[in-house]
Symmetry: C2
């Protein structure tokens, strides 16, 4: 059974205090697919690129065992291009240029041979498109989706309509507040259960993430890093580690959801240490295990009882 | 051997989305002493109040085993009064009124019989006063101090001079950035080791705290709370749990420092669920143990290896 990933594939121009890189690989589907490939096989990628997209990058995805036959190549449009400039603290950024190009009319027909996928991972796109994707899948087992403030503010009804289908929502802390009109992300998170998803994962950037089900809660810190070169795609990398792990293990127990969040955290810490997907291109198992150990060490303590 | 606590004792007026309370007990020494009393005995409190300070509150501290003979009562001035108004998200607040009153000339002579204290906990006051306090102690074993942006911006040289004496610095994340001119709190935290303290504890409010030594790092999340009534004193309560635990155990190993941070986190979660020190007045061991368990459950996971 397969993991279907649908999202953007982009060429980004990124400016950070460490320098500027132009037209480097970006987009949610790129980060999610590549990251999940370190945990599982049989990944199917759906997206659209322009005629200018480097063929070598598609070959690269294929070399990771990703089925790229769902990538449409527009013969007349260029690839989605985003130019972002990060501020000194890396927590805020300005969008300098957003050229949707081929991505503007993205409304994918899922290839017939992809429709039996059981794990579905849909990046942050228009909620109407997210719903259209979901309805094309024959019998999805787990649907994870992402969203952002742009859709919460601009297409709330469509988003609420789509959320009913989602099992897992991955969302930023500020977006929880925006979506639920609750200034407390824990009580806000609980309100999201009423909208459809039974698993909520709240991303807090450098402060880690919170995993919530109706019954339980788990927090994971970000791995402390002294040098963050490019945070672009950290959230998608997190989602890729998460879904890659769930697809590998097929285990939705809370204990295993915790590990999925751990894998997302570990992979995101790798991604942000270089531009684009560069640090994710060849990740050794040893590196992943080293960071799992580090995360365990910094967050676990021996329970004691006061007497 | 004793735990000496020096800091402010105040009457606060607090406005939060839950309501307004006037002239309720506040001040760093109040929160630190009361909190540490749940972990250790032989606590010595030094501070100043005005003639209007309720005698019942001093009796209350005494009932907790705290030696209050170091509290000076001004016969001519009122007690330090701070009026703070919290915004809806509870993360930001405005100071509406700050009347220093008796606290304005606070420059304590440590009572002779307090000078053999070995654990010293100095709240956020003028760094020159912090240094004067430290120099009065005969042979301190552990000195913990707090500070704030006001002193970093206004009395940096004095602060740097005092920091040389501190073993443990408790500081907010934004203050780390301000003090070290580093936008990354991990590399910023490391720079503080060069200023004196060998143990840095970075408080991140709802995002928990980070404990750093030169060799190791530990993160603890805040206990997720759906209802935060009054965050005033959360940082001091954290410091009280931390120092109370260290004084109880006399163990400065990293494993035990982790537990000290856990105790601070647990106590802070209790404090913020009601105004002032109200929720700290009578804390049962069972409640502390319940929250230690909760914190353990939400932050610990079983390490695995990817193979």
């Amino acid at each position: 059974m397969s993991l279907l990933v649908v999202g953007s594939i982009a060429l980004d121009t990124i400016e950070t205090p460490f320098g500027k890189r132009e037209y480097i690989l970006g987009g949610s589907a790129s980060f999610i697919c590549l990251t999940s490939s370190y945990f599982t096989k049989d990944i199917r990628m759906v997206g659209i690129v322009g005629y200018d997209f480097p063929k070598g990058e598609i070959d690269f995805f294929r070399s990771k065992g990703i089925d790229t036959s769902g990538i449409e190549i527009s013969p007349i449009e260029k690839t989605f291009h985003w130019y972002g400039k990060y501020h000194d603290d890396m927590n805020t950024r300005d969008s300098i240029v957003t050229e949707l190009n081929a991505f503007e009319k993205f409304n994918p027909i899922i290839p017939e041979n992809f429709r039996d996928s059981d794990f579905i991972c849909i990046g942050n796109v228009d909620p109407r498109i997210q719903k259209s994707i979901i309805l094309q899948i024959k019998s999805p087992k787990i649907i994870m989706m992402d969203t952002m403030n742009f859709w919460i503010e601009g297409k709330l009804n469509e988003l609420l309509d789509t959320l009913k289908f989602a099992n897992i929502l991955v969302i930023n802390d500020s977006e929880v507040k925006l979506l639920t009109k609750d200034s407390n992300i824990i009580s806000g998170g609980r309100k999201i259960f009423e909208l459809g998803p039974e698993i909520i994962i709240i991303k807090k950037g450098e402060h880690g993430a919170i995993l919530m089900t109706k019954e339980e809660i788990f927090t994971v810190p970000a791995i402390p890093l002294e040098r963050i070169v490019d945070p672009t795609g950290a959230g998608d990398t997190f989602a890729g580690g998460l879904m890659g792990w769930l697809h590998r293990t097929k285990d939705l127990s809370f204990e295993n959801l915790k590990l999925a969040v751990v894998m997302g955290t570990v992979m995101a810490s790798i991604a942000v240490e270089d531009y684009s997907i560069d640090n994710l291109r060849n990740v050794e198992k040893e590196e992943i295990n080293k960071r799992i150990n580090k995360l365990h060490k910094i967050s676990n303590f021996n329970r004691i009882e006061l007497n």
